[in-house]
């Protein structure tokens, strides 16, 4: 039995056509495998940028893969990308909401410590990177960290628009479908995101 987190997901699933023939199913599975293999790493990195935690990012990506495969595999493959990212972004938002609730609850409890997910608690931001010796790699790594920090500082919708358009390469229509908003909103979010990032990173880059 399919599992739906949100009502819109459930409604969309009604559009699933009847079961296909065996050969068609095999072909569909092959296509789905190819699609997921192509997007999984970028999806993971995007989730990691938003959530900071690699395990949470893996969970969200895995959940998005399962939901796409269970509920939308029979849809045309051209529709998979925006659908997949819509599920992924919903998963990221749900997890962030749960974290916010947990943080508030923990703060309310007497003697509780600050949530380890909070911005100031990440030790990686304050520790010098002792990994690669090559200065170029080190600079790239630092630049990526600054970019990630700047992306996290953006409002969620601006970050989504920037990552989907610029990192994933979705067009405006695809991004609008993935974000569940109008194309005009995507353009606005993207433009503001670029402006904010330029202000934050302009001097460094």
């Amino acid at each position: 039995m399919p599992h739906f987190d949100t009502l819109p997901d459930a409604w969309l699933a009604w559009d699933v056509p009847a079961p296909a023939a065996k050969g068609a199913v095999l072909e569909q599975t092959r296509e789905l495998d190819k699609f997921l293999a192509e997007v999984e790493r970028r999806a993971f990195r995007m989730a990691q940028v938003a959530l900071r935690d690699p395990d949470d990012a893996l969970d969200v990506v895995q959940d998005a893969m399962l939901k796409l495969a269970r509920n939308y595999a029979a849809k045309p493959s051209a529709e998979w990308r925006p659908l997949f990212y819509r599920i992924l972004e919903n998963g990221i938002r749900d997890l962030q909401r749960r974290r916010t609730v947990r943080r508030k609850f923990m703060a309310w409890l007497p003697g509780s410590k600050e949530d380890p997910d909070s911005e100031a608690q990440d030790p990686l931001d304050n520790v010098a990177d002792g990994g690669p010796d090559a200065p170029e790699l080190l600079m790239q790594d630092q630049a990526m960290r600054k970019l990630e920090a700047s992306l996290r500082a953006l409002p969620a919708r601006q970050r989504e628009a920037f990552m989907l358009r610029n990192f994933e390469g979705l067009d405006v229509a695809g991004t609008a479908q993935a974000m569940g908003c109008s194309e005009g909103s995507v353009k606005t979010h993207y433009s503001r995101a670029v402006h904010s990032l330029r202000e934050q990173l302009g001097e460094v880059w």
Binding site: H3, V25, L36, Q62, L68, Q140, N166
Partner: protein, 136 residues
């Protein structure tokens, strides 16, 4: 800053951030890659299982639940009577049985209907006598 320069800066930021992001994707460690591959295989298994299920089993979970709830509500309404009604009581049951007796009489003779029409006064008297209780 001119519009042309602004556009150039914007484009440089987009290009640089995209390049950095893709480098970080290429640099993912083996543990993460392995877990992503496992997740993909699990998803493909789920897709194959979903394609084998008949269409009606892919209905959303709340649909059969709503059907069961509606059936239960209808059953309760029939059992207890409609809102504002009095439900099925012993008196109503008795009246239904009487009507059934009248209706099941021999259609050709029409005795039952004729009897009712002729002896209305008698039945009225009998009803009052029954309701007034036993004679002291």
């Amino acid at each position: 800053m001119t519009e042309h320069t602004q556009e150039a800066v914007r484009s440089a930021l987009e290009d640089r951030s995209r390049a950095l992001f893709h480098e970080s994707v290429d640099g993912l460690d083996l543990r993460v890659r392995s877990r992503l591959t496992q997740a993909r295989h699990a998803a493909l298994d789920a897709a194959a299982a979903a394609s084998r299920r008949p269409w009606f089993s892919r209905m959303p979970l709340w649909t059969p639940a709503a059907g069961v709830a509606a059936a239960a509500l209808l059953g309760a309404a029939l059992w207890l009577g409609l809102p504002g009604g009095h439900g099925i009581t012993a008196d109503n049951q008795s009246s239904l049985e009487d009507l059934d007796i009248v209706a099941s009489s021999d259609e050709g003779s029409g005795d039952a209907i004729e009897m009712l029409q002729n002896d209305l006064d008698f039945y009225d008297f009998a009803d009052k006598a029954t309701n007034s209780g036993p004679a002291a």
